[in-house]
């Protein structure tokens, strides 16, 4: 039985565990039909031309983890940004861990999707927002069909949430192979500000496939800062589908740091439904071995006077492969749009490759749109310069690579995240030097 067949046939068993009379269930039923019709994407589809899921779909994934597994904080502390006080929504093998989490209902909701999907008091929000901007393609529909657990965050008006929120999914590897479908809903109301850190971490080398969907609503003048730390084991793969709907004068920023995992696909889509909106997406990708990271972004400029900024840096070693596909759509109404896109890459090895493809679809005539992509190698004269000062080859290389990706970190507002990313990069590059700049 293929994974697709297994998933479709599991849906009935899943229905036994949920309230089939809720409106959400109609959405789920519709979604499983879409998944059944579309299935997993193949390389024949334009958007998936350079990313094949075949190698990760062949495992016999367990689609409902059977066991309740526990973890001790001390054993997994290093995966948290533990230097700061934060809210935490923690899952172990797809199940909520109250032991590791720190949620709240005190003036804001930082809690569980499963609660939001079942309790009456959340019904209005769910009806208004749930599955409203998630794409109706095969992968997102698959997630929607099995949507049950994940983070639910609702920030009321005029609230600056001081503590960042960490959403971490751990996989224990207690089962041979696990597929997870986390579903997050984040609603940030007028004038509010929230910072979110998301991470997926498996703890053994048993295969894990995560197909995650996150819907974010940044309402009028809201500020959303979202950090994705992707530094998983090479047995883990991640398909991250993130959809952001922005209202006027809102600001949404997503930083994606991709260092680990076997295969990562980031589908990141911004929809600008209002004027004077700013959408920013930045990423650093540093991979090696046979790792594969694919950034597929979309910014949909719908109304006038908005901006978008994209800046992705990639460093590829060994036989790793990268994809950047950045689509910017500027509707006819969206005059005075400023849209910038940059994708710069360094190939360290002859076997590494990157496919980069900017896609601009502009229907308005008074706009500023720029895009640029570069693919290069490390500058040998710079290498000699550093080495002539006593900096060994490996460290010199690392310093240049860090310098290359450094400006992406400028916009990271939480110093502890910046430090952590810096350390992960040093570790990834196998050096022990401070990049403190």
């Amino acid at each position: 039985m293929s994974l697709k067949e297994k998933l479709v046939s599991s849906f009935m068993a899943f229905e036994d565990t949920v309230d089939v009379h809720s409106s959400v269930h109609d959405i789920r039923t519709e979604a499983i039909k879409t998944f059944e019709a579309e299935g997993f994407p193949s390389k024949r589809q334009e958007d998936w031309k350079y990313t094949s899921l075949n190698s990760i779909l062949k495992h016999d994934y367990s689609v409902f983890p059977k066991n309740e597994n526990a973890l001790e904080f001390k054993d997994i502390k290093k995966y948290f940004i533990h230097e700061i006080d934060s809210y935490k929504i923690i899952f172990i093998d797809g199940k909520y861990s109250s032991h590791l989490s720190q949620t709240t209902h005190d003036g804001l909701d930082v809690c569980l999707m499963s609660a939001a999907l079942t309790k009456p008091k959340y019904k209005v929000i769910i009806d208004n927002y749930f599955n409203k901007i998630a794409k109706k393609d095969g992968l997102s529909s698959l997630n929607t069909a099995f949507s049950m657990e994940g983070a639910y965050i609702n920030i009321p008006k005029n609230k600056v949430v001081e503590k960042p929120i960490q959403i971490i999914h751990f996989s224990t590897g207690n089962e041979a192979a696990v597929m997870l479908q986390p579903r997050n809903l984040i609603v940030v109301n007028e004038n509010s500000h929230v910072q979110i850190i998301e991470r997926h971490q498996s703890l053994t080398d048993n295969p894990v496939l995560t197909n995650s969907v996150t819907e974010i609503f940044a309402n009028k003048r809201a500020i959303v800062d979202y950090y994705k730390i992707q530094n998983d084991r090479q047995s883990a793969s991640l398909i991250d589908n993130t959809f952001i709907n922005q209202k006027q004068e809102s600001l949404a920023k997503v930083h994606t740091f991709s260092f680990g995992g076997k295969l990562i696909r980031n589908n990141l889509e911004f929809y600008q439904n209002g004027e004077r909106i700013d959408s920013t997406m930045k990423g650093i990708t540093i991979i090696g071995d046979k790792q594969h990271v694919d950034h597929n972004t979309l910014v949909h400029h719908i109304e006038p006077n908005c901006e978008s900024h994209q800046d992705y840096k990639g460093i590829f070693d060994d036989s790793s492969t990268g994809v950047f596909n950045g689509k910017v759509v500027v509707e006819k109404l969206a005059q005075k749009t400023n849209a910038f896109q940059a994708n710069n890459n360094i190939l360290i090895s002859d076997k590494a490759s990157i496919n980069t493809k900017p896609q601009l679809e502009i229907f308005a005539d008074d706009v500023k749109c720029s895009h640029g992509c570069t693919i290069g190698q490390l500058d040998e004269s710079a290498m000699f310069y550093l080495r002539s000062r006593g900096i060994p080859e490996k460290e010199a290389r690392a310093l240049l690579m860090f310098a290359f990706s450094n400006n992406v970190l400028d916009s990271v507002k939480i110093p502890e995240i910046k430090n952590r990313i810096t350390k992960i990069i040093a570790n990834k590059l196998g050096v022990n030097i401070g990049f403190d700049l």
């Binding site: 500058d379 040998e380 004269s381 710079a382 000699f384 310069y385 550093l386 080495r387 002539s388 000062r389 006593g390 900096i391 060994p392 080859e393 460290e395 010199a396 310093l399 240049l400 860090f402 310098a403 290359f404 450094n406 400006n407 030097i433 401070g434 990049f435 403190d436 700049l437």
Partner: protein, 250 residues
């Protein structure tokens, strides 16, 4: 300190150095002059260990040790310093972070602990004052957007921080106005001691008014064709290089 014997070097099979012999003792300042394309910068790069050049014959001894097989960083750890003619711009690496990394990597190679932050700061302060470098300058990206004079001062600042045994200044005077030239030369002179040596590579005699050499060598077509005292530099300034070429060809 440095002994170069019959050094031949080439790049992409093109011979540039064709039998250089040179001995530099501790406490000495040597000037290497010569027309464009004579091999001056190549000599500097070969001593510092640039990999594009292939040594085809001869050897380079640093304190008696053949350094040919050593990587650039290993030569640096042994006290070789090259002030670049065209310092490289490295966006994203600050001057301070760069020099800290260089010092601590050199210490690591010698089995020493990192320099304590306090000592590092003190040293940076002292040496930047010596080169009249503004503190703000130190947090800027290495050489990025620096003027010609700033780049060269930054090179000598690095030299001051790294305290090399053998400093090679490759066309350090090019692109410097007279004030910057004085600052740079003053810095070099203050760093000079009986235990270290300096090789000044220059096209013009100007710098040698400030950094006075003990010996002057003329490089032509990959060979040292004439050596003398500091007066040779004046002679070259007055007469140009043509007479040397004629002498050689005669």
């Amino acid at each position: 300190m440095l002994k170069i014997n019959n050094l031949h070097a080439s790049i992409e099979d093109k011979a540039i150095l064709k039998g250089i012999n040179l001995e530099v003792k501790a406490g000495e300042v040597h000037a290497i002059m010569g027309p464009n394309g004579s091999g001056k910068s190549t000599l500097a790069s070969v001593i510092a260990g640039k990999e594009e050049y292939e040594v085809t014959e001869g050897n380079i001894l640093l304190e008696g040790e053949d350094i040919e097989e050593l990587a650039a960083e290993e030569r640096a750890h042994k006290g070789v310093f090259l002030s670049f003619q065209y310092p490289i711009e490295i966006p994203g690496v600050s001057v301070t972070n760069f020099i800290k990394t260089a010092i601590n990597e050199t210490r690591k190679a010698k089995g020493l602990e990192d320099m304590p932050a306090k000592d590092m700061l003190k040293m940076i302060r002292e040496k930047s004052e010596l080169l009249e470098i503004d503190r703000k300058f130190l947090s800027r990206s290495l050489n990025q957007g620096f003027s010609g004079g700033e780049k060269k001062r930054n090179e000598i600042f690095q030299m001051a921080m790294l305290e090399p045994k053998l400093a090679i200044l490759d066309e350090t005077d090019s692109g410097l106005d007279i004030d910057a030239l004085r600052i740079v030369a003053n810095g070099v002179n203050k760093l000079k001691s009986k235990d270290n040596a300096v090789i000044v590579i220059t096209h013009y005699q100007r710098l040698l008014d400030y950094i006075v050499p003990d010996f002057v060598h003329v490089l032509h077509n990959g060979k040292i064709v004439k050596s003398g005292g500091k007066e040779l530099a004046h002679e070259l300034e007055a007469k140009g290089y043509d007479w040397i070429k004629e002498e050689v060809n005669a």
